[in-house]
Symmetry: C2
Subunit: 474 residues, 2 copies
């Protein structure tokens, strides 16, 4: 056992090491997420508090994501909210592996759903690491005997409301320790292991050990940037979006009739979805002037404003830019029963960011898998996920640009960007074809809508959304 | 009745007027909140949708704040989330006056609480207007007979799930119309009246009338900036924070004993508050190096991380800067049962912003009332609100600056700002005395803690928080 003065000197040295590691992270603009799991809730809180004393408090925050707040959204949703910005640190107490352990110990999770959960945890950690965020995980484990003693003392001595929860007792069990060990092994991203720190009587010593482990892992992370290499995807069969066949059309009368019927129908379906708690995510993508905005307004024409939300996707704000590109979309995952419509979306990563070179090759190349994983999480949480590509021809786009320029009502829609983007028509088309081929999944399919005729496109979009909802509302 | 072509021509002209008004707002960096209330939920959604077509979609968003999401927070909390940034517009469906009308019609709100509610609505609207946000309010009223016909038709023809809610039927009543008229008169900010638009059969005509009213109000707002004049507050009795008496001290042993006892006590109290759903807001303010951070870490030393959250208050982000200064604090109002600790806070408006001239005289002068109103809303929602001024002497601050510079563990806490701020010691002190005198209220009191001795200050802070909580947890 260290004498007090040795302990204090070690803690003082550690304090400086942690400050230095934090400065290095900030200088290199890496984020860090420090996860404190384990079977000892109080110890985790104490350690988090101690870390805020050691670190420069201005760029670190402690959070305890509330699993209950997910209500109908994916398991990882509350954790995504807390993803740190570049150069900043988040300390997470009440982590994803402790929660998963509890669910398994309570017999609420097993078999395929458990395997899917563990895969989703691996993917989440790897995706953060690949984006330059240090993922540092400390598992605080207090031996069953000593933990039980503390828990029962707490129950004995406190008349004013300490409640040792059934969860605390469940996690204290030896069987849970073994279970957690296995889950840690299976639910960790590549090269992102949990570091186990054994807790005991001496708080200061325990925090020293944990702090040393954190300093070591932060140091590593800042030396080797997780340079996930992903090859550029090979070429794909072409022509999906270029057909010589003329786009279908719809005359005004048929359009009026069908539109009225479909709007009423979608109104009913969304009200039913609202009462049943079925959430829906609809994405519209397509070239400039394809008519996404108009299609969305028809889509929502008869919906109750309380049941849906339309999200445009402008250039990211500084807060968004400082985080993983999926963060701002995780934030907008709909509450139970709601419809979220995205006017452009996360696919910007493999479209504009790829074509304009805003994302490196490795970044957009791995994005297909990240996006499929994101959409799989939504579907797994029971949501309807539908993606619509509003497809116009190059000639039609030019006609619409001219029409916009000629109309005082539409002139504001034209920007200097539009003709610049148009010059990259072919590159955009190739990117779109790759995107559709690589992210068309059974749980989140793409629908391609021919849109040289706006009326046809609006009806077809409404039909596709109605079908996706009614398939799930039998 | 207008013929179709006249109607279409009027709508086309209105479309251009609205675009021009929107451009003017953006150029002048005014925000606008367009509120659509009334007794016809579907009509409100339709109008909102139509407005997104008329306005440039890039800077307007529709939202339907979910009153249920407030759960234990103040009534206005969901609306505060949606306050528009400068240069942007928010369209609110499901507004505060319709909701208030419903509560009164359901006999859930009357007497003093109703009067308080109406006052809070007036204050909210005035505070936005004073900050340069256009508050435009449209009350869509469909006559009872025609509304009932539509509602019963909807119920008849739709097997798939349209539910005409009891609220819809209640709002349709003639008595509710009269009630709403009265509430609109009493619950509107000065010069911020509701504009009533009568709905009927013809959707396009109704939207035209509503649009014209909106264009007129936006035009007005952009002509006369709500230049709320508020006089600089007169001088106040001085000396509250400057006492010749020496600061009380605490020796190490007494400190250790009292701290251990108080931390356990606060741990119990916060757990009890958590189970009872009692939320707490604690604010720490004080000069640089007063020891706010250290006091907060001791305060939270034995708390469960899931029960509290510490919020530092760095310089506002661009998103925060573009909105009313209270917005970023409304966002952080704690969920039921949680403790929120603010390391500096909204009082920056009347401290640093006043002293440095970041806020104009009229802005910080009216902030006292705005802050008192904000805290009254928190208290009204049942929260404990406590403000602690950690008070050190000018000499002690200098000693601590030197100690920080000498310590490798603390050097990062010193910035170039610190000595600059110190030069304004007297101005800061005067601002603090004004602030405490003007915002010390029964529901949200100030506690001044002498802090030249850190141990004494930490214990006193813990004691004050324990007392505030235990007073409410009998």
């Amino acid at each position: 056992m260290a004498t007090r003065s040795v302990l204090e000197r070690s803690r003082s040295a550690l304090h400086l090491r942690l400050l230095a590691a934090q400065r290095r992270l900030a200088a290199k603009q890496y984020g860090a997420i420090i996860v404190i799991g384990g079977n000892d809730r109080l110890a985790a809180s104490e350690l988090a508090n101690q870390l805020t004393e050691w670190f420069d408090a201005r760029t670190v925050r402690v959070c305890a994501p509330d699993a209950a707040s997910a209500e109908g959204r994916p398991f990882l949703w509350p954790y995504w909210q807390e993803v740190p910005a570049k150069g900043r640190m988040t300390i997470v107490v009440g982590d994803w592996l402790t929660r998963t352990t509890l669910e398994v110990a309570r017999d609420e999770l097993s078999g395929d759903p458990l395997r899917a959960r563990l895969k989703s945890l691996r993917t989440f950690e790897e995706l953060l690491a690949a984006d330059g965020t240090s993922v540092v995980k400390i598992w605080l484990e207090t031996p069953e005997k000593s933990l039980r003693r503390r828990l029962s003392e707490a129950e004995d001595t406190d008349a004013e409301g300490w409640v040792v929860s059934p969860d605390d007792l469940l996690l204290a069990k030896k069987s849970s320790l073994n279970l957690a060990r296995e889950l840690r092994a299976q639910g960790s991203g590549k090269n992102l292991p949990w570091k186990v720190v054994i807790g005991g009587a001496e708080t200061k010593l325990r925090d020293l050990h944990a702090g040393l482990a954190i300093a070591a892992q932060l140091g590593q992370a800042s030396r080797r940037r997780a340079a996930a290499k992903a090859k550029k995807p090979g070429s794909r069969p072409r022509g999906l979006l270029e057909s010589a066949a003329p786009h279908p059309t719809l005359d005004k009368k048929a359009y009026g009739q069908q539109m009225a019927k479909l709007q009423v129908r979608l109104g009913r379906l969304t009200r039913l979805a609202y009462t049943q708690g079925l959430s829906t995510v609809v994405v519209l993508e397509g070239p400039d002037a394809a008519g996404k905005g108009g299609a969305i307004r028809r889509l929502c024409g008869l919906l109750d404003a309380a049941h849906y939300q339309v999200y445009p996707t402008p250039a990211p704000t500084p807060e968004e830019k400082a985080r993983h590109y999926l963060w701002r979309f995780w934030n907008k995952v709909p509450a139970p029963g709601r419809l979220a419509v995205f006017d452009r979306s996360w696919f910007g990563r493999v479209m504009v960011e790829r074509v304009e070179g805003f994302a490196q090759d490795a970044e957009w190349a791995r994005a297909y898998a990240e996006i499929n994983d994101f959409e799989a999480r939504l579907a797994e949480a029971g949501m309807v996920v539908l993606k619509v590509w509003i497809n116009i021809s190059k000639e039609e786009q030019l006609r619409r640009f001219h029409a916009r320029e000629d109309s005082p009502h539409k002139r504001h829609k034209m920007t200097a960007e539009d003709y610049r983007n148009r010059k990259k028509w072919d590159a955009n088309l190739r990117a779109a074809e790759d995107m559709i081929a690589r992210t068309d999944t059974p749980h989140a399919p793409w629908v391609v809508v021919s849109a040289d005729d706006k009326r046809y496109a609006r009806v077809a979009t409404l039909k596709a959304v109605c079908r996706a909802l009614s398939d799930r509302l039998d």
